[in-house]
């Protein structure tokens, strides 16, 4: 990379980067939450058999995923081994990777939903919507945990802030657990209706439930990496 020279000696400026990794992590997370919010609203409409504009939504999510990928690449490319960070760089990168996986799944999910409009049986509609809401809440909780990193860094990792982040992480686990339970109910519900539904519908409904749930799984993974990142 060739930078324009200003012709002065200032080793101090060589010590710093223009963008800090944490602010970029938060920037990436904003993209994740933007994508998940769009998908969340859309998927509930979808569950209610409103397929209008869903193709546009899928395109939008895909676009956001692409933007997030650029940020991710930027962070990865600017973490040389000479960079000193207050947390383990490896763990930081794993957290980023998992955070990115959330959007990857969101993209796949929206594309799959767009490819075949599967009607959700009336009996299961409520369960499906509740499940999606819990997954969204998991991501939201993860977002809070990631944002609290800013306070952690600001205070030089004091106990109080660490406890707070841990609490947020705990919330993530909580919602993820609830989402898992809900998915169990959803899946059970689908099998109960297997006689009424076409095999293709069963296959697709189970796949939708699984893929939605996977978003929450990755949010939980982010929280886990965050937890080990801030450990003493």
């Amino acid at each position: 990379m060739i930078e324009e020279k200003d012709h002065f000696r200032a080793p101090l400026s060589d010590t710093f980067r223009r963008k800090t990794p944490f602010s970029q992590l938060v920037e990436h997370m904003c993209k994740v939450s933007e994508g998940i919010n769009i998908l969340g609203e859309g998927i509930i409409k979808y569950y209610k058999a409103d397929y209008k504009d869903f193709s546009d939504l899928a395109k939008k999510v895909s676009q956001i995923e692409h933007e997030a990928d650029i940020i991710k690449g930027n962070i990865r490319n600017h973490l040389p081994s000479s960079l000193l960070m207050p947390v383990d760089k490896g763990k930081f990168l794993w957290a980023l990777r998992e955070q990115d996986a959330i959007l990857d799944h969101a993209e796949n999910l929206s594309e799959m939903l767009d490819m075949r409009h599967t009607k959700i049986p009336k009996e299961l509609q409520k369960l499906f919507i509740e499940h999606a809401e819990l997954v969204m809440k998991t991501v939201k909780a993860m977002e809070e945990a990631v944002c609290n990193i800013k306070d952690l860094v600001e205070t030089g990792f004091v106990k109080r802030e660490r406890e707070q982040t841990k609490e947020y992480i705990h919330n993530v686990h909580d919602f993820e657990y609830k989402a898992d339970q809900k998915r169990y109910e959803v899946t059970k519900g689908i099998y109960k209706l297997e006689k009424k539904l076409s095999p293709m519908d069963v296959y697709h409904l189970i796949k939708i439930a699984d893929w939605v749930d996977e978003v929450a799984d990755h949010a939980e993974n982010v929280a886990d990496w965050l937890r080990s990142m801030i450990a003493k």
């Binding site: 020279k5 200003d6 012709h7 002065f8 000696r9 200032a10 080793p11 101090l12 400026s13 060589d14 010590t15 710093f16 980067r17 223009r18 800090t20 990794p21 944490f22 602010s23 040389p80 000479s82 960079l83 000193l84 960070m85 207050p86 306070d151 860094v153 600001e154 205070t155 030089g156 990792f157 004091v158 106990k159 109080r160 802030e161």
Partner: protein, 419 residues
């Protein structure tokens, strides 16, 4: 030969001194434009002061530091690197000018190439080169060079440790408390009190000031303690009205330190003036007595006018080129918030001031980098690029031989011209 030389001296020595002073002024300008801007940028980057204020603070306090504490380091450069007794005065004259010129060339070249070299290292290297050719290896005071070189390694480490400690104090006594803002209102001024103690004692212990007013060391310490207590209480008094807006109001804590950082940036400027002025005027100071008495004398005190010339040169450098440097560096280091900047300033300035009192010429900008790394090691910064250490070490390795070599070449050329 000898007679002819004396003759020349009568006519031309003042011209030579004027030329030397001009080169010295250029060196001072370069220090002001690069090194001062580089260290003051911590306060500008943390938005504690605007860059205009930084230029004014740097100008005035560098000047004061240069005039009041400067002679300690200038003595080292003037007479302790090369054994001046063993070398003829005319050779000395050429030698000091050659070393000034060599250092100035290397500094200019590396500034152009943006290498993180130090003016201090350049001038010491140049003096070393001149000593070797003028009087052989034995005329260079290797012991002194060894201790100076050791101080180059130690000063960034010392700055690193101090900044680490100050930042840890801020974390332990402010951020981890129930009410961070309330603690900051007390701890901040207390550290400023310590700063006041260090500055006052450096002014009163073994300086021209204490000799003029016959202040004993003991009295000096007492005065320094009283000053520090007064300054501390003034700080607490001024900050008493600041209240936390919410429980975890780190923003207000930073705001308190933004005010305190005005003091530490003055501290940085003052210390820097004390240490760096010698790089510019040390060699000139050595040849002034030559002109006046025809003899080299290590005992003649350095004229205040020379120190003032150096101080003005530094201030001028800040005002002209330094403004731009400060803006650029300041905009790059915005992640250095006020509490961090405060720690860096305190660590670096204290190291530089102590070194100045010990007569050790060190690199202020390398010390500032050391202090930044200290805060980073205390988990205070999101990311620090440690490759700068490699660049600094490379500049250490190259500066001495290159400055020495250039000086040797210039020395021979000058001697050919003069006769």
């Amino acid at each position: 030969m000898r007679l002819r030389w004396r003759h020349l001296v009568d006519y031309f020595i003042w011209i030579i001194i004027a030329i030397a002073s001009a080169i010295a002024f250029y060196m001072a300008w370069s220090i002001g434009a690069n090194d001062v801007a580089n260290s003051m940028a911590t306060a500008v980057g943390a938005k504690a002061i605007t860059f205009k204020q930084a230029v004014i603070i740097a100008g005035i306090l560098n000047f004061l530091g240069a005039v009041l504490i400067g002679p300690h380091v200038a003595e080292t450069i003037k007479g302790k690197i090369v054994n001046t007794e063993t070398i003829e005065p005319n050779i000395l004259l050429i030698g000091f000018i050659a070393s000034l010129l060599a250092a100035a060339i290397w500094v200019t070249l590396s500034t152009w190439k943006e290498m993180p070299i130090s003016t201090t290292h350049s001038i010491i290297g140049a003096l070393m080169g001149f000593g070797i050719v003028a009087g052989g290896f034995s005329s260079v005071n290797w012991g002194k060079i060894g201790s100076v070189a050791a101080s180059w390694v130690l000063s960034p480490i010392f700055g690193c440790i101090l900044a680490f400690i100050v930042f840890k104090i801020i974390v332990k006594l402010i951020f981890s408390k129930e009410e961070p803002v309330k603690s900051a209102r007390i701890i901040g001024p207390a550290i400023i009190g310590v700063t006041a103690f260090i500055i006052t004692s450096s002014l009163l212990l073994k300086t021209s000031l204490s000799e003029t007013y016959t202040i004993s060391d003991f009295n000096g310490i007492i005065v320094a303690i009283i000053t520090s207590i007064i300054v501390g209480f003034i700080g607490i008094f001024l900050l008493r009205k600041i209240k936390a807006k919410k429980e975890e109001d780190y923003f207000t804590v930073e705001n308190i330190f933004r005010k305190l950082q005005i003091v530490t940036s003055c501290y940085v400027a003052f210390s820097q003036g004390a240490n760096d002025v010698a790089n510019a005027i040390g060699p000139v100071a050595a040849i002034v007595p030559l002109a006046e008495t025809g003899m080299m004398s290590t005992s003649t005190p350095i004229p205040t006018t020379l120190l003032a010339l150096g101080g003005i040169g530094i201030a001028f450098g800040c005002l002209t080129w330094g403004k731009r440097v400060m803006k650029t560096v300041g905009s790059r280091i915005t992640s250095l918030t006020n509490t961090r900047g405060f720690s860096v300033d305190f660590g670096a300035a204290t190291t530089v001031l102590v070194a100045s009192k010990l007569g050790l010429p060190i690199s202020t900008s390398h010390t500032v980098v050391g202090a930044v790394i200290g805060v980073g090691l205390a988990r205070g910064l999101e990311a620090i690029d440690l490759s700068v250490i490699k660049r600094i070490i490379i500049s250490w390795i190259f500066t001495l031989p290159i400055a020495a070599g250039t000086c040797i070449i210039i020395f021979y050329i000058l001697r050919m011209i003069v006769g």
